[in-house]
C-alpha cells in the first residue's frame, strides 16, 4: 500500500530524521493545528478516563449546524476512510465504477469484500478533467454497474467537477438505481463559498453519500476524524450496525466544539492558499521540463517531460535534500512520470523550487531547456 506522508518509512529506510523532512507528499494545511483545538486537547486530557459518547451527539450536532445539515443524516468515522469502507460494506455493490486515477483506498475497500471493479480512466489529453457526458454514456451502456465512486476535487489530479456537472451524474444515478459516493476530502480547499459541495443534496437523493474529512483542511491527520452525509436511513442503519463501538477518540469527538468558532483559521487558510497557490504554480510552470496540470485545490499533479528523470529518481534526489514528494506511479492510470506536490507556506515553496531548479541544472540534458 502506498500513500503520501509516510515519513516514518522514509526515516527507517534512508536514515534521514523524519522531523527534518519537508513533506510535500501529504496534502495538509501548513497553518498547523488550530489554537482552539490545542486548548481543548490540553484542557481535556483528563476526559480520556471516560469512554467517548458512543453516539457522538455533540459532534454530530456541531457538524449539522456548521454545514446546515440534518443531524440524522450524519455519520462520523475514524477518518473519512472508515465512512467509505463502511458504506461499501453496507451497500455491498456488485459492480463499482471508480473514476481513476484516484485515492487507492476505494479499490482496496472493494477488493476486501471481493467486489468487482470497473476502472474508468480520466485522460491526460483532457487534462484529467472528467467528461460527464462520456461517463453517463458509459454508465448507460453497462447496466450492471450499481455503484460509482468519484473523488471531487480529485486526488491526485486536483481537478474540481462543478456542482452543475455533478448534478447530472447524481440525477442519472438516482434514476438508474446506482449508489454514488462522492469523496469531498479536499473540497474545503476548493470551495470557499460552499457552492460546489453536494452535502446539501443528500436530503433529496437516496442513493447519494457525500464523504468529508477534517484531516486536511484543519491540519489534523493524526486526530482521525471524518464524516459522511446520507439520508438513506436503511444504509445508515446498516452502517451503524457494522461499525466498531467508540470508533472516534475523545479529542476527535470534541472537534465540533471548535468547528463553529474557527472563522479566523478558515479565513487565514483561504488567504494563504490564494496567495501561495498562484505563486507556486507560476514558479513551477517556469520549469519547462515539468508539465503542471491546473488544480483547484491545495496540491498539484505534475508530469516529468524529461526522459532522464522518473518520479522515483526525482523523489530520491529531492530526499537527499530533505524534501519528500509523492511519486504517483502507484496510481492506476498514471505512470512513472507523474508526481504530486502539496502547496505549503511561501518559504517552503521557495526552497522546493530552488532545489528542483538545482537538480535540473545538474543534469546536462535538462539544462538547455530551462
Amino acid at each position: 500500500m502506498t500513500h503520501g506522508g509516510n515519513i516514518y518509512e522514509i526515516e527507517k529506510r534512508t536514515g534521514i530524521a523524519k522531523d527534518s523532512i519537508l513533506d510535500y507528499s501529504s496534502n495538509i494545511n501548513p497553518l498547523g493545528v488550530p489554537d482552539g483545538l490545542k486548548k481543548i486537547i490540553c484542557d481535556g486530557i483528563d476526559d480520556l478516563t471516560k469512554y467517548p459518547d458512543i453516539n457522538y451527539h455533540e459532534l454530530k450536532d456541531s457538524i449539522a449546524q456548521y454545514y446546515r445539515l440534518s443531524v440524522e443524516d450524519i455519520l462520523v468515522g475514524n477518518g473519512a476512510a472508515q465512512i467509505i469502507f463502511d458504506f461499501i460494506n453496507a451497500v455491498a455493490p456488485r459492480n463499482t465504477l471508480i473514476v481513476q486515477p484516484t485515492f487507492s483506498e476505494y479499490e482496496r475497500a472493494l477488493n476486501i469484500g471481493g467486489k468487482n471493479i470497473i476502472h474508468y480512466f480520466l485522460r491526460e489529453e483532457d487534462s484529467f478533467q472528467l467528461n460527464v457526458d462520456n461517463l453517463l454514456k458509459y454508465l448507460a451502456a453497462d447496466k450492471s454497474i450499481d455503484m460509482v465512486i468519484i473523488c471531487n476535487p480529485n486526488n491526485p489530479t486536483g481537478r474540481l467537477i462543478s456542482k452543475g456537472e455533478m448534478m447530472c451524474i447524481i440525477d442519472f444515478c438516482e434514476e438508474n438505481n446506482i449508489f454514488l459516493i462522492i469523496d469531498e476530502a479536499f473540497m474545503d480547499f476548493a470551495d470557499e463559498m460552499g457552492i460546489h459541495t453536494l452535502m446539501n443534496e443528500c436530503k433529496k437523493y437516496k442513493n447519494l453519500m457525500v464523504v468529508r474529512a477534517f484531516t486536511k483542511f484543519y491540519g489534523i491527520p493524526g486526530l482521525r476524524l471524518g464524516f459522511g452525509v446520507t439520508s438513506n436511513l436503511d444504509i445508515k442503519n446498516r452502517i451503524e450496525l457494522l461499525s466498531l463501538p467508540w470508533n472516534i477518540n475523545t479529542f476527535a469527538s470534541y472537534f465540533g466544539r471548535i468547528l463553529l468558532s474557527e472563522d479566523k483559521y478558515v479565513a487565514n487558510s483561504f488567504k494563504w492558499l490564494k496567495n501561495e497557490r498562484v505563486n507556486f504554480f507560476n514558479k513551477l510552470n517556469e520549469i519547462k521540463v515539468l508539465k503542471v496540470f491546473s488544480s483547484e485545490t491545495n496540491f498539484v499533479l505534475l508530469k516529468l517531460l524529461e526522459n532522464n528523470y522518473t518520479a522515483k529518481t526525482l523523489q530520491a534526489n529531492l530526499l537527499k535534500r530533505g524534501i519528500l514528494i509523492r511519486d504517483c506511479s502507484s496510481f492506476k492510470g498514471l505512470n512513472e512520470k507523474y508526481i504530486r506536490l502539496a502547496v505549503k507556506d511561501g518559504a517552503s515553496n521557495e526552497r522546493l523550487i530552488k532545489e528542483l531548479k538545482s537538480i535540473i541544472k545538474e543534469k546536462n540534458t535538462w539544462i538547455n531547456k530551462c
Copy 2:
C-alpha cells in the same frame, strides 16, 4: 447496544450533568491518566499535522519489549474491539462458541458477518467459574465448532481462569483445529506477576489470538488503543489487508513511549486495587440482600436477593443520588437481578456503600435483613 459508561445518554435522558455522575458502570482505573502520557500529549499536539505511522513500528516495538513478545506477532487496533472484529472477519468461522455471560461485542461482530453462534453458559451455582472439563466435553461432542471466544478475566463475572486450566483449552483447540480468541482486556488488574496471561503462548499455538487493551488499566478509554498477539502469519496478513489505514490516532500511537517508564503508575495501581478491592468487597458482603460473586479483577458482579428490587430500579434510585451502576440484564445468561460495580477510590466506594445502605433502609422489606 448496551455498554457501561454511557454517561452522555444518561445526561440526555435524565438531565443529570454527566460530570457530576459517579460512574460505577465502567471499569476504569480511578488513578486517572498517567502523568507521562499527559506530557506526551501536550508536547505532541503539533504532531497531529502528520499522518500517524501507517505501520505503527514504534508502538509495536514498545509493546514487544514491555511484554517480551516478538514484534512480528503484534497487531495494534483502534481499541481491543477492532482487533476482535478484524480477527473474526479474517478467520470467518462457521460455528463459534462464546462462553457467556460476557462482553456483548463478540456476538455483535459475529452477527455482522452472519456467523452462527453457540452460547455456552456459565452457571450461577458454579459462581460463574468455568468448568474446563465440561467445556472440553462439549467441544468434543460438537465437531462443527471452529472458533471459541473466552474473556479472561471475564466481564461481567470477574472470574479468572488460571493459566494451567487455559492451557488445557488451548491444547484441545490446537489439536482440533479450533481458533481460540482470549480477550485479556482486564488481565492487567488480575495478574500482577504476569503468570496468567497467555500472550507468551501465542508463539507456539497457531490457532491462538490473545487480545489486550490499554484502555482500562491505564485509565484511557478515550484514547482508543488495543492490541492482539498471534503468530499465525496467514491470519495476521489477512487482518492487515482488511483493516483501515491509520486506524490509530497520533496520541495513541505514542502510548508505547510511556509504557516502558510508568512503573510507578503500575505499582500505585496494584496498591490501590489490593487495598480497595478487599475493603469494598467486604463492605458489600455486609449488605445481606446482595450476593457478591468473588472477583479477581477491578469490578464485581452482584445479585439482588430482594424481590422488590431489580437492577433497573436500583440503578434509577442510585442515579437520583448521582451514582451510575451497570444493569446487567442485557448480558446473555444473566437477568434483571444482576448488577456490576467497578472498584473505585476509597472515598467513592464509601459513598456508594452509604447510598446503597440508605436505599435499602428506605425499603421496609429490606430493612430487617440489613
